[in-house]
């Protein structure tokens, strides 16, 4: 497993993302109306999908943490929020660049764009909160509450284009997209998924190591016995 994460996963990520983007940039036809600019789809849409997925993992991890306390789910929540914010921000930047030639504007306060902005702000707030609370347990509980409430943004962003009038179009489906464009999108999306998993694994390890170091700290001073420390951290986890 470790070997796969170290070598296999990066290779798989590069291969899938490279193949998907090559298909999208060189192999797929341009759009009838958007021309070459439509190729932004193969980076914008996977980014947004994976941002949604990461933020959903954050929600699940937060609920799981409150149900059964464990530093693993807390670390998972921290990792997924940060990566979800990264992907979501990139999704918004690429979407905004896509909007300039097609819509004519980089930004408009339409329901989709506004709800997406609120979503990103709420996950930024989540990560800031985590920074400011020193006590690991309080931090985990409070941030889990913020994560659960912040997660209502996910369905709002998703359905915003159906519930309200917006500049952003409704979701496409394979019926509304030519097969030569669906294939690169699929491959790019799996590549982005591999990248998400790769980032998640490493970010999770960082968060878990930080948690264990924080929890181990008070005991580490009087007694330096590694056996005791390991015992303690596993009790908390």
């Amino acid at each position: 497993m470790n070997k796969f994460v170290k070598f296999g996963l990066p290779v798989l990520t590069l291969a899938l993302l490279g193949a998907g983007w090559w298909l999208g940039l060189a192999w797929a036809p341009p759009d009838r109306e958007m021309g070459e600019v439509q190729r932004i789809m193969y980076v914008h849409v996977p980014l947004q999908w994976m941002a949604m997925l990461a933020m959903f993992i954050n929600f699940v991890a937060a609920v799981t943490y409150l149900m059964r306390q464990s530093w693993k789910t807390d670390a998972m929540a921290e990792a997924s929020a940060e990566i979800g914010l990264l992907f979501g921000t990139l999704g918004m930047i690429t979407g905004s660049i896509w909007g300039r030639p097609t819509w004519g504007v980089y930004w408009s306060w339409d329901p989709r764009l506004t709800s997406e902005a609120i979503l990103l702000v709420s996950y930024t707030g989540y990560l800031v909160l985590r920074r400011f609370v020193e006590d690991p347990e309080k931090r985990a509980v409070w941030s889990a509450v913020v994560a659960i409430i912040g997660a209502i943004n996910l369905p709002i962003v998703w359905f915003s284009v159906r519930w309200w009038r917006s500049l952003h179009q409704v979701q496409s489906s394979p019926k509304t997209v030519d097969p030569q464009m669906v294939l690169p999108l699929r491959v790019s999306a799996f590549g982005m998924l591999a990248l998400l998993i790769l980032f998640m694994v490493h970010r999770y390890r960082i968060a878990l190591a930080e948690r264990q170091a924080e929890v181990a700290l008070p005991e580490a001073l009087p007694s330096d016995d590694p056996a005791l420390r390991a015992n303690h951290s596993s009790k908390v986890a």
Partner: protein, 164 residues
């Protein structure tokens, strides 16, 4: 109360709160107060309310309504409820260059003011794309199309399209 039970109660409370919030937004008719743009018929039926402030109007560019002035500096067209010729429509005047995708029958959202003369002066013209992505049809390969247009661009501008 043990910390575990307390945490579970917190989870329940947060979930209930989130669910209620979501339900309110989804089914609470919040959309009525949160209208990104008005349709032409809504604008026409709103009368005086429409004259006051900067508003957005959204609809479809009525076929055959696009008109440029001599110097290609002012663009006049009608935004209609739908693509058919009898749909209610509003006269829009725009002083800026529209996005390239602007054409007849495409969805647009314009930002500006509506005056008593019945003209909507737009200072922001946005084009609304559908969720369809298609390869060019047989015989309309965009690159070739671009070449021919780039060569004949000067002649193309001489004849304003869509003059009714």
């Amino acid at each position: 109360m043990t910390p575990v039970n307390r945490n579970r109660l917190i989870a329940l409370g947060a979930l209930l709160f989130a669910g209620a919030g979501l339900g309110f937004i989804a089914f609470g008719n919040i959309g009525d107060n949160l209208v990104y743009y008005w349709s032409p018929s809504e604008l026409l039926s709103n009368g005086d309310k429409a004259y006051t402030a900067t508003i957005r109007l959204g609809g479809v560019v009525q076929p055959g309504s696009i008109q440029w002035n001599e110097g290609h500096t002012t663009l006049d067209f009608r935004v209609a409820d739908g693509p058919d010729a009898n749909a209610k429509s509003v006269h829009v005047r725009s002083l800026e260059t529209p996005p390239q995708m602007f054409r007849e029958k495409i969805g647009v959202v314009v930002e500006g003011t509506y005056d008593k003369a019945g003209i909507f002066t737009s200072n922001r013209l946005m084009v609304n794309h559908s969720n369809e992505y298609r390869a060019p049809k047989e015989g309309e390969e965009p690159r070739k199309w671009q070449d021919t247009l780039a060569e004949g661009a000067t002649t193309a501008t001489v004849t304003p399209p869509g003059a009714p």
